[in-house]
């Protein structure tokens, strides 16, 4: 099995890399490299990709030009108890494939405690945003006699996890960095055979307990996992994890030939932390969700359901897609079919997915690339949020060529493998899971109903009034922190400054009494939209002392066009007036994705303001005089929770 089996094969990747190097424009060159990184590649080709791409990325980061190249910069420090240098190129390449410009700092081997607990000028100078603690089961062994009691083992495991928690906490306070903890891969052969796990102090039992305790502590402390132990158990790494020869030769936990896989696993966590995970699963229908062709075979003729191996396999894939929907992945359909025929298939008694689960349903005879564009615009999300699953290799190939932003996994020819293929590709890696996520599918379905209501309402005012919207604002506290951070990191379109912050950074701002961290929820007569907008505001030394800078203002596109921003301004202005500020200053930093809010501040009655010193050259600034504030109109009732 190829390690990156969900990626397509390239006819001659080596030659393509050579050709890409001839390109003199660094941004174009990186663009090509980012695409080439999306093909199946071994470690030698991966390293070759990195040799040029790594340099270009470093230049780009140094010049602060990532944004214009459509890349998100991220500084990652890797602290490790084993040799990790040989995995860094593959990490960078996998990051580039996800539009991340990674800067990587590798602390000297085995020095992870020093880097976190003591003053480390090099680390401090690097200012990591993400700290990866890559430990292994041989590091800091718990010195317990084999006959130790259950209680002694529990105490030793707790002590070790407390030590890790101190390191996590140091990463947070010292660097305001998001921590990623690697779980421990059991390496040593059993001492007791199958009896191993029944002996509390046996090596395998100890590692298992440590991992359980690490996962629990990570959940409590807001630490992310690189769950290598679980990956190993799934068999992805084969013998490439903890190969004793590589360990004795070079203290490598991961063999060099599996660097592309490890790099990809780590890059997806990093990308998720930077808000670059995908949001929507677009499904083909015939021979993807069921066996056969609905237009030819009819509802009775398709293979779906209990009784035959094929029917059950398609059922299993639908179950997997339904589970993804339950965790907040939006589902869409893109199929070459007549709309009425395609929709009728959802009446099949054994369909797991229901028509109402599909937020955007496109069935026609036009090309799929165009239809995927339509789906993205119907849902107000970017093409880079889409994953397209189609059993037909030709369709996959065309979509990859026409829309390189869309994730298109290679599929096995056997439908039984579909769930595993989709899962292995890791498109939907996340950094949090909240009740808002669980409700998202429903929320998109409701949005479709709202759109229908809009076409019925004769005037926009009547429509907005009829929605009976209630806006709730809360100062960000522990309960809002995960979803607030999630929204900050994944909102691209309605985002005035696209500043990304870790949970620790948001927490720091929220605790500052002079600053405002506002979480906004919206519900209406159709249901609850959840936490949909965030405003961060603070003083800034480059402004006048009575001016409050709106550092970040972002909103989920689900509630566009409903005057939520007007209502939010009312709340922010009231807070600022009470806190003694004379004016609000809004900043707009253009990106490739946020053109829709270029006129946000003037629309709200802000006046153009001179850019302060040190501002980015393409940023615009806007001022809102709190003493002479223009009237704001909206049809939303406001509730405040302090």
């Amino acid at each position: 099995m190829d390690q990156l089996f969900w990626l397509p094969n390239h006819a001659d990747l080596g030659a393509a890399i050579g050709e890409a190097r001839q390109e003199t424009d660094p941004a174009k060159c990186l663009d090509t490299f980012a695409q080439l990184a999306g093909y199946r590649r071994d470690f030698t080709l991966t390293n070759r990709l990195d040799r040029t791409a790594g340099k270009l990325l470093a230049d780009l980061v140094a010049k602060g030009a990532c944004k214009t190249a459509g890349l998100t910069p991220l500084r990652v420090a890797i602290l490790s108890s084993h040799t990790i240098d040989h995995l860094v190129p593959a990490f960078r390449v996998a990051g580039l494939h996800r539009r991340l410009a990674l800067s990587v700092y590798v602390a000297p081997y085995g020095m992870y405690r020093q880097s976190l607990l003591m003053d480390d000028p090099e680390m401090a100078g690097f200012a990591p945003q993400l700290v990866v603690l890559a430990l292994d089961a041989r590091d800091a062994p718990l010195q317990l006699p084999l006959e130790s009691s259950e209680e002694d083992v529990t105490a030793a495991v707790q002590a070790r996890v407390e030590e890790l928690r101190q390191l996590w906490s140091a990463a947070k306070t010292r660097y305001a960095a998001q921590m990623v903890q690697q779980t421990l891969v059991p390496l040593d052969p059993p001492v007791f055979g199958s009896f191993e796990a029944l002996v509390p102090a046996a090596p395998y039992a100890l590692t298992e307990r440590l991992n359980t305790a690490i996962r629990e502590a990570a959940r409590r402390d807001g630490v992310l996992l690189l769950d290598l132990a679980w990956q190993a158990a799934q068999g992805f790494y084969g013998k490439g994890l903890g190969d004793p020869v590589r360990w004795h030769q070079a203290k490598q936990l991961v063999s060099p030939n599996l660097a592309p896989l490890y790099g990809d696993q780590l890059a997806r966590v990093a990308a998720a932390a930077a808000g670059l995970s995908r949001k929507c699963l677009v499904l083909d229908l015939d021979n993807t969700l069921w066996g056969g062709v609905i237009g030819d075979d009819g509802v009775e003729g398709i293979h779906l359901g209990q009784g035959t191996p094929t029917g059950e396999a398609f059922l299993a894939f639908q179950h997997y897609a339904a589970l993804l929907a339950k965790r907040g992945i939006i589902l869409a359909v893109c199929s070459k079919n007549d709309m009425a025929v395609a929709e009728a298939a959802f009446e099949h008694p054994e369909m797991v997915l229901k028509r109402a689960d599909i937020a955007a349903f496109v069935a026609n005879w036009e090309d799929k690339a165009g239809n995927l564009r339509r789906i993205a615009s119907m849902l107000d999300i970017g093409l880079d949020s889409l994953v397209f699953v189609d059993d037909n290799p030709a369709e996959r190939d065309i979509v990859r060529r026409e829309l390189p932003e869309v994730g298109v996994p290679e599929l096995s020819e056997d439908v039984s493998d579909y769930p595993a293929c989709l899962a292995a590709a890791g498109y939907f890696e996340t950094i949090s899971f909240t009740s808002d996520d669980a409700a998202r599918g429903r929320s998109y379905a409701l949005n479709a109903e709202r759109k229908a209501a809009l076409t019925q309402a004769t005037d926009i005012e009547g429509y907005l009034r009829g929605l009976e919207m209630i806006l709730t604002t809360t100062l960000v506290g522990p309960a809002e922190l995960p979803r607030t951070t999630q929204l900050i990191n994944k909102t691209n379109q309605f985002n005035l400054t696209t500043r990304r912050y870790s949970e620790a950074e948001v927490e720091r701002l929220a605790e500052d009494p002079g600053a405002l961290a506002l979480a906004v929820r919206l519900r209406d007569k159709f249901g609850d939209n959840g936490l949909i907008s965030v405003v961060l505001a603070r003083s800034d030394s480059s402004l006048e002392t009575d001016e409050l800078l709106i550092d970040s203002w972002l909103m989920s596109c689900r509630v566009l066009g409903r005057q939520v921003e007007q209502a939010v301004l009312e709340v922010v202005a009231a807070w600022a007036t009470e806190a003694g500020w004379s004016a609000l200053v809004g900043e707009y930093r253009p990106t490739a994705r946020n053109g829709m809010v270029a006129e946000h501040y003037p629309r709200l009655g802000f006046a153009n303001r001179q850019a302060p010193e040190g501002a980015e050259s393409d940023a615009t600034f806007w001022r809102y005089d709190l003493n002479a504030k223009p009237t704001v109109t909206h049809f939303i009732e406001i509730e405040k929770h302090e």
Partner: protein
Amino acid sequence: MNEQEVLTALNPIFQDMFDDDDIELTPDTTAKDIEGWDSLAHVSLIVAAEQRFGVKFRTAELDSLHNVGHFAQLISKKLNG
């Protein structure tokens, strides 16, 4: 494959690894002759050769790899053994 044939087959592996199409291996080539051939690259070379030739080096054999000729000899012996 004899030693010379292995050496010829090793050449592109080295070229890819060090990204240098000008590399011309001889039996006497050592780490000193190739820029970037450090201990890290050394491990990677061994793994790449294992993959290319479908062989596995024993731990003890790793101790005694002094030059490319030696490397080729060992691989050839494994292939013919």
